[in-house]
């Protein structure tokens, strides 16, 4: 089978699976199996079609029929598209298996519809990243948005989900409008919607700047960059967990794809400040995202905030790369895009894994509140283990995958800060500092996420009911956990192929970035990393104590079987670290971010007497961006609307007067 046929087969499987699942909506269980299996198989075919393209570095083009005159239906799988297809397909494999058991929760509530939406969602994402025509791009982009909107609102009885869906819907469309305007600018200059023509478009510098900024902001809304992020922590957790994994894992990456496609591929990253803008937004998103993540008590929201952070890191790599391209430093350009893309696939894998893990917890506990969890690793050891691997990866611990991409990002930032103007020399080290801060806070965040959820005493209600999740869910998570290792240890091989994607984008030959078991940026003298060797080292460190114990040391008892010492008091589960307490030490450090509003500081004795029962302690992060940016905007719009309402009197005669006046004005205008 050729890659073209495999690609079409993959899309075909998604669509057929979706339709059959919809048809079997009455029988939820079978619909579940159909949608899950087809997503899995389609994912496998997708990988099979993308990998040869990445290895050979040569894409393929599929010409469709011409339904409408201005839209040529062309699918162009170049290395970048193939890379994105690979990422989406990988997650589709994992979530496909996972959903077979996970969606049993929803049997009787329209599982077939859910399977249908899920498969269409994945298919639309693959088409978004492979289509070669702006018109169809927007069609599939919109399809992706709509389907994911339905998935966010799937739990109709959940008011929060409905609200989150609405916010998501509005924000997504704001983004789409900006992208649309950017594409129309291209259309004005080229007279066609084909991406092929966009690449050679001869835009004036001002138009270029405008087209880039519009596209960047439009895609940025979808990617969840600060300050357009606030829909993301609402919408992603509201969806079913397999969908959250897809949304956080890959959907926001389609926006990164859009930024690279427009900024680098179409416009050739022609101004140096574009890269700097992307870098700045990336750094801000990374720091703010992780700060909000640390203080979150809702497990899925924590992961969603962390997605904002990781999008920021990806954008830092991409921004540095764009700056390198613009200033003619090709090696920095390739390194930056490589770092971005590597982190993109890594984040897809470990964030997918973590969301699936969170889904497993929710599947058994039916709550997302971390304060009601604790000690789950005892009841769900495999879920705990895979979540732990995901947490290690995202905290960028070697030899796992998160470390490799962050390492490349650092070196890109260092390499970029050696040349150029004073502003560049200043901005890139600052970005590196932001990245370091982010890295430290991420570790804190996931020590908390894993620690509060999976270790310590159980703080919820009845713990006897909790048991390990069904095996298909474990397989789904296990595959992604293996992926974390493969992408980390296989870095010396993988780096070359991803560098090929970056160099194909810039039309230059690929530099050598790996040698044997080690990888290096630019040259091996600058820095070197060998993840397999790190693994050997880590394993060695672990084995050493075991050897000592084995050769005559005393065995320690199993400490988890005993309660910890509580200074002589009777131990209670309330003494363990809680989620809120864990993050509390950060509040004074970052007080401008964690706006603490103490609405009721001091109460008189009489007030306390009367209102003792009514007093409550609410711990919630002040919604800073909403309060200072979005609410004023909203109030302004409502004010304008109210003013405009005075024209709508409800009286037919007034409307006629408007018609007469307009007609009169128009007629007079024609006469003149």
């Amino acid at each position: 089978m050729t890659v073209q046929q495999l690609f079409l087969l993959s899309i075909f499987l998604y669509v057929v699976g979706a339709l059959i699942s919809l048809g079997l909506n009455r029988d939820g269980k079978i619909a579940n199996y159909v949608s899950g299996t087809t997503a899995f198989l389609a994912g496998c075919t997708g990988v099979a079609s993308a990998v040869p393209v990445l290895i050979e570095g040569k894409g393929f083009i599929l010409e469709g029929m011409e339904f409408i005159p201005f839209g040529r239906f062309t699918i162009n799988v170049d290395p970048l598209s193939a890379f994105m297809t690979l990422v989406i397909s990988l997650l589709s494999i994992a979530t496909g298996i996972y959903s077979i058991s996970y969606q049993e929760e929803y049997i009787g509530k329209g599982t077939g519809v859910m399977g249908f939406l899920n498969n269409i969602f994945i298919a639309s994402m693959i088409l978004v990243v492979t289509i070669d025509n702006a018109f169809y791009f927007l069609v599939f982009w919109e399809l992706m948005t709509l389907v994911s909107y339905f998935l966010v609102c799937f739990e109709q009885e959940n008011r929060e989900a409905i609200k989150a869906g609405f916010v998501y819907f509005v924000m997504a469309h704001v983004g789409t409008v900006l992208i649309m305007i950017s594409f129309i600018l291209f259309y004005v200059y080229t007279g066609t919607f084909d991406f092929a023509a966009f690449r050679n478009a001869n835009l004036s510098p001002v138009t270029k700047n405008l087209a880039f900024l519009l596209a960047f902001l439009g895609f940025g809304v979808k990617a969840g960059i600060v300050p357009f992020h606030f829909w993301l922590p609402q919408a992603h957790p509201a969806a079913p967990s397999n969908v959250s994994a897809l949304m956080s894992g890959v959907m926001i990456k389609t926006a990164i794809y859009g930024i690279i496609r427009v900024g680098v591929d179409f416009l050739g990253a022609s101004a140096w400040w574009w890269g700097l803008t992307v870098l700045a937004f990336g750094a801000i998103s990374a720091v703010f995202g992780v700060l909000y993540a640390v203080s979150e008590n809702d497990l899925k929201r924590l992961l969603a905030y962390s997605s904002i952070e990781n999008v920021g890191i990806i954008l830092m790599g991409v921004g540095a790369g764009m700056m390198g391209i613009a200033t003619g430093q090709v090696s920095v350009g390739i390194l930056g895009i490589l770092a971005g893309l590597y982190h993109l696939i890594n984040h897809a894998v470990f964030k997918g894994l973590l969301f699936l893990g969170a889904g497993s917890v929710v599947y058994r506990l039916h709550t997302r509140n971390m304060e009601e969890m604790g000690g789950l690793a005892r009841y769900m050891p495999w879920t705990g283990l895979t979540f732990f691997i995901g947490a290690l990866s995202i905290s960028a611990l070697p030899p796992l995958n998160g470390f490799v991409s962050k390492w490349f990002t650092y070196h890109t930032l260092f390499a970029a800060s050696t040349k150029g103007s004073a502003l560049i020399r200043m901005a890139f080290p600052l970005a590196a500092v932001a990245l370091a801060l982010t890295g430290a806070l991420t570790s804190l965040c996931f020590v908390k996420a894993y620690g509060v959820t999976f270790t310590g005493p159980f703080r919820g209600g009845n713990e006897l009911k909790i048991k390990e999740v069904p095996v298909t869910m474990l397989i789904g998570m296990g595959l992604l956990a293996i992926g974390c290792f493969v992408l980390g240890l296989g870095a010396p091989i993988g780096v070359g192929y991803i560098a090929n994607v970056a160099s194909a984008l810039l039309h230059v030959s690929s530099p050598q970035l790996s040698d044997g078991l080690s990888i290096f940026p630019e040259s091996s003298e600058q820095a070197m990393l060998s993840t397999p060797l790190v693994l050997v080292f880590v394993v060695g460190l672990a084995i050493l104590p075991l050897l000592i114990i084995g050769t005559g040391g005393k065995r320690a008892g199993r400490r988890v079987d005993f309660e910890p010492w509580a200074c002589g008091y009777k131990y209670s589960s309330r003494m363990a670290w809680t989620s809120t307490a864990f993050a509390h030490s950060l509040y004074p450090l970052f007080s401008p971010v964690y706006l603490l509003r103490t609405a009721f500081t001091e109460a008189g004795r009489f007030t306390i007497l009367l209102f003792k029962k009514a007093m409550a302690y609410i711990s919630q992060i002040e919604l800073m961006w909403e309060r200072y940016i979005y609410y004023p905007l909203l109030h302004f719009m409502v004010y304008i609307g109210k003013r405009a309402q005075t024209f709508q009197t409800g009286n037919v005669r007034m409307y006629c007067l408007y018609i007469i006046l307009t007609l009169g004005v128009l007629l007079i205008a024609t006469v003149r």
Partner: protein
């Protein structure tokens, strides 16, 4: 008297009748006036058909005769029978309406001044009248608070636009005209039904009292 002159004179008669519709107090009388005016319109259609040798217009005039002079007034009379004679509720003073009507006429004549198309040139007066007629319909709606009177105003607008159509495109296929005419009848039918239901609920046809329905 040449053909164009006849059409032009008839169209002046049209303006007079539509002024009568606007100014008549009694609803029943206004409906009769409307019927009379439609008759004038049919004659205009006929005369254009004769002088321009436009065959489709014969069919136009027949359908216009059926719908405008019989069907529409019949529908309105039916409602009047149901709601009895209502107080009209004048919104704009009579003198003012006349002044406004004069202004509208002047504006319409000014508007058609630059038209120099061959076909239209001969019937310039009629074209101006048709535009003015449309605006007079709006004025009728504006001047009266009564829902039925406003429906009549809408009918005046219809007549005006039909006249424009007949002058500008007298050789248009019959199907176009039939479509437009039946459309007008259905519009009036629906509006009368709404007027009757409103009367049932509110006990009046004064549209100013209907603002309760505002969203």
């Amino acid at each position: 008297m040449s053909g164009t002159n006849i059409v032009n004179v008839l169209s002046v008669l049209l303006i007079l009748t539509s002024m009568l519709v606007v100014e008549t107090r009694k609803l029943r009388m206004a409906a009769y006036m409307y019927r009379f005016q439609s008759l004038v319109l049919v004659t205009i259609f006929l005369s254009i058909a004769v002088f321009m040798e436009a065959k489709p217009l014969y069919i136009w005039s027949i359908t216009a005769l059926i719908t405008k002079t019989f069907l529409v007034p019949y529908l309105i009379f039916k409602v009047i029978k149901r709601v009895k004679e209502q107080e009209e509720g004048v919104a704009i003073d009579k003198k003012l309406t006349i002044i406004l009507a004069v202004g509208i006429l002047a504006l319409s004549f000014a508007v058609v001044e630059p038209f120099h198309m061959q076909a239209v040139l001969k019937l310039r007066v009629a074209l101006a009248v048709s535009i003015a007629h449309f605006m007079l319909g709006l004025l009728c709606i504006l001047a009266s608070k009564n829902a039925l009177k406003q429906i009549l105003g809408y009918c005046l607008m219809e007549n005006g636009s039909h006249l424009t159509l007949a002058i500008m495109a007298y050789n248009a296929p019959e199907t176009v005209e039939i479509g437009i005419l039946t459309d007008a009848v259905f519009a009036v039918l629906i509006m009368t039904i709404i007027a009757r239901r409103l009367f049932k609920d509110f006990g009046t046809l004064d549209t100013d009292k209907f603002t309760l329905l505002k969203g």
